[in-house]
């Protein structure tokens, strides 16, 4: 994955070393180590594969929000809309005989992207608050629509009869969830690599520019609206793929793929992990889902309480989340002898 950066550095001006920026996109050792974890997890937690798949899917979903919030700076309380659109797209296709998983993913990405593109024009302008309310409003409209179109979606009972075919016609989805896990993980990894390219590219840099200073961007010649539309559309496509994965690995679509709490929880996971860093989204999801699994096993209500408390504390004291803390630890470790 690494680099077309091996080219020798051009003669630096005044002995200046542009290296740090030149090589910013190189894969770090810690990243390789990070991606070994899910492979190890497959063997260590072999009886918990369905949880692992859920984590991979949620991580992809969280990544999608990070692209639009962490990079482009668009706050959203309704991101589940795209997740849900993807989930229903894949589900309806599979239900009506188009059960090929990759076709499902592609269709989900396309339809979610189209939805994102159309709704992006609603979030171009306005304060954070307006955007929060607009995205929330759009998402509840989708929820209501899915809820009412029972003939189509199954309404509150969920979409039954989703039959997913084997991947490439070879790898069928087994009872233990092995295929499901590898499938989710590989899709996550590929999507992650694409996102990683994107955020390190000039396009990604311009998104960061928009987030950091929206009003300066037009003054250096950047068409802000176009970039925002693109980022929002891409984020929606990512969310759609995550939704489709959930449908395909569980062979079911429940109405709550579109729910407000899914959007809110997602925002929370991202903030816990650290916005504006791809690994923040991944690590946040891992920590959150694991904690959720074990703590809510003990008592679901306690879990929600501590979750709320954690959120309050993060906002008050650790706004850059787990990734921010890790980075500070790392920096402190460097300084110490």
């Amino acid at each position: 994955m690494s680099s077309n950066l091996a080219a020798p550095p051009a003669t630096p001006a005044n002995g200046f070393d542009p290296g740090p920026l030149r090589n910013a996109a190189r894969w770090h050792r810690a990243e390789y180590a990070f991606w070994v974890l899910p492979v190890l997890a497959y063997f260590v937690f072999a009886e918990n594969l369905s949880l692992l798949s859920q984590i991979a899917i949620a991580a992809l979903f969280c990544l999608s929000l990070d692209l639009i919030l962490g990079y482009a700076g668009i706050v959203s309380l309704g991101h589940a809309a795209f997740f849900g659109v993807g989930a229903y797209t894949a589900g309806l296709l599979a239900k009506h005989g188009w059960g090929d998983p990759l076709l499902g993913l592609g269709a989900a990405a396309a339809i979610a992207a189209a939805t994102g593109f159309i709704t992006s024009f609603l979030v171009l302008r306005g304060s954070d608050l307006t955007r929060l309310m607009v995205t929330l409003g759009v998402a509840v409209m989708f929820y209501e629509a899915a809820n009412k179109l029972t003939a189509f979606t199954g309404g509150v009972d969920g979409l039954q009869g989703v039959e997913v075919k084997p991947i490439f016609g070879v790898f069928g989805f087994d009872l233990y969830g092995k295929t499901a896990y590898w499938y989710s993980l590989i899709v996550l990894f590929i999507m992650f690599c694409l996102a990683r390219r994107l955020v390190h590219s000039p396009f990604g840099l311009s998104l960061r520019g928009i987030r950091q200073n929206l009003t300066r961007m037009p003054a250096i010649g950047a068409p802000v609206n176009g970039r925002l539309v693109a980022a929002y559309t891409i984020g929606a496509a990512y969310a759609g793929v995550a939704g489709a994965l959930l449908t395909q690995t569980t062979q079911f679509v429940s109405l709550d793929v579109l729910s407000f709490s899914r959007s809110a929880e997602l925002l929370l996971i991202l903030v816990l992990g650290g916005t504006g860093r791809l690994y923040g989204a991944l690590i946040g999801t891992m920590v959150f889902m694991t904690a959720h699994h074990f703590l809510s096993g003990i008592n679901p209500q306690y879990w929600q309480f501590w979750l709320g408390a954690a959120l309050v504390l993060v906002v008050l004291f650790a706004r850059d989340g787990i990734m921010g803390m890790l980075q500070r630890l790392h920096a402190a470790g460097r300084k110490a002898p």
């Binding site: 680099s3 077309n4 950066l5 080219a7 051009a10 630096p12 001006a13 005044n14 200046f16 542009p18 740090p20 920026l21 030149r22 090589n23 910013a24 996109a25 390219r197 994107l198 390190h200 590219s201 000039p202 396009f203 990604g204 840099l205 311009s206 960061r208 520019g209 950091q212 200073n213 009003t215 300066r216 961007m217 037009p218 003054a219 250096i220 010649g221 950047a222 068409p223 802000v224 970039r227 693109a230």
Partner: protein, 250 residues
């Protein structure tokens, strides 16, 4: 010499109040033009109108003969009309090199490229580094913008604009908030810009204005009071009155 930037009867109304009224300017290719006037005269508003940051209530803006009144900000930047802001608008979390590279990338039309990393666009980075070198900012190239002292941040404000390769550069009080000793260096940098770049400067320090400008427009209450060469402006009693009237309570 040919006109490069022109306004015709440009007006901007906020509620019942005209922040710009009927301003007609004519700025020649390669000019060193200063815009002066007391606080609240509408200087920044005029720049906002020129660049499309604000829409005029009436009137028109022409850039190199084309009517650009309806163009958006970034389209005008693409045509060579670039500004700086009176109050810094920087990318606080980026390093200095990153933010200038961002501006260079936008000018080179790389802003939509999403596959190769910024680091692989060596031409952009080299150009950014070179610009930093001319502005004596190279030593802080990898420092986050927010960690710099205000004077140096002010230089980045200018660097971002220069990275867009302006044909017409609008500088809104570039030295505002900069300690005097540092502001000398800043103005030397501005004075060294090549003649191809037309400059419209807003500045309060009259010494600097009279040293730098070849023509001066005086704005009062949103309207153009007069425009002439510095010697004439310096002797104009109306200008003196305006400035005496305000410098007392400054």
């Amino acid at each position: 010499m040919s006109t490069v930037l022109e306004t015709r009867n440009l007006s901007k109304r906020f509620g019942g109040f005209f922040a710009s009224s009927n301003v007609s300017l004519d700025i020649k290719q390669g000019a060193r033009h200063a815009l002066i006037g007391p606080n609240g005269a509408g200087k920044t508003t005029l720049i906002n109108l020129l660049t499309g940051f604000l829409e005029p209530t009436s009137g028109e803006v022409f850039l190199k003969g084309d009517n650009v009144t309806r163009l958006s900000q970034h389209q005008r930047v693409k045509r060579g009309l670039v500004r700086t802001f009176q109050i810094n608008r920087l990318f606080a979390e980026m390093t200095v090199l990153e933010s200038v590279t961002l501006s260079v990338c936008e000018r080179m039309g790389l802003g939509w490229k999403w596959w190769r990393p910024v680091g692989a666009h060596t031409a952009a980075i080299d150009e950014a580094a070179e610009l930093l070198s001319t502005l004596r900012l190279l030593d802080v190239a990898h420092a986050p913008t927010r960690s710099l002292a205000y004077g140096r941040q002010r230089m980045i404000e200018i660097a971002l604009a220069l990275a867009a390769k302006p044909e017409v550069l609008l500088l809104d009080e570039p030295a505002a908030g900069v300690p005097t000793d540092e502001s000398r260096g800043l103005f030397e940098t501005i004075a060294r810009l090549p003649r191809e770049v037309t400059i419209l400067l807003i500045e309060h320090d009259m010494d600097l204005v009279f040293r730098f400008a070849e023509r001066i427009s005086v704005l009062v209450g949103g309207a153009l009071l007069t425009e002439d060469v510095p010697e004439v402006i310096a002797r104009d009693p109306r200008v003196r009155e305006v400035y005496l009237g305000t410098s007392l309570d400054d």
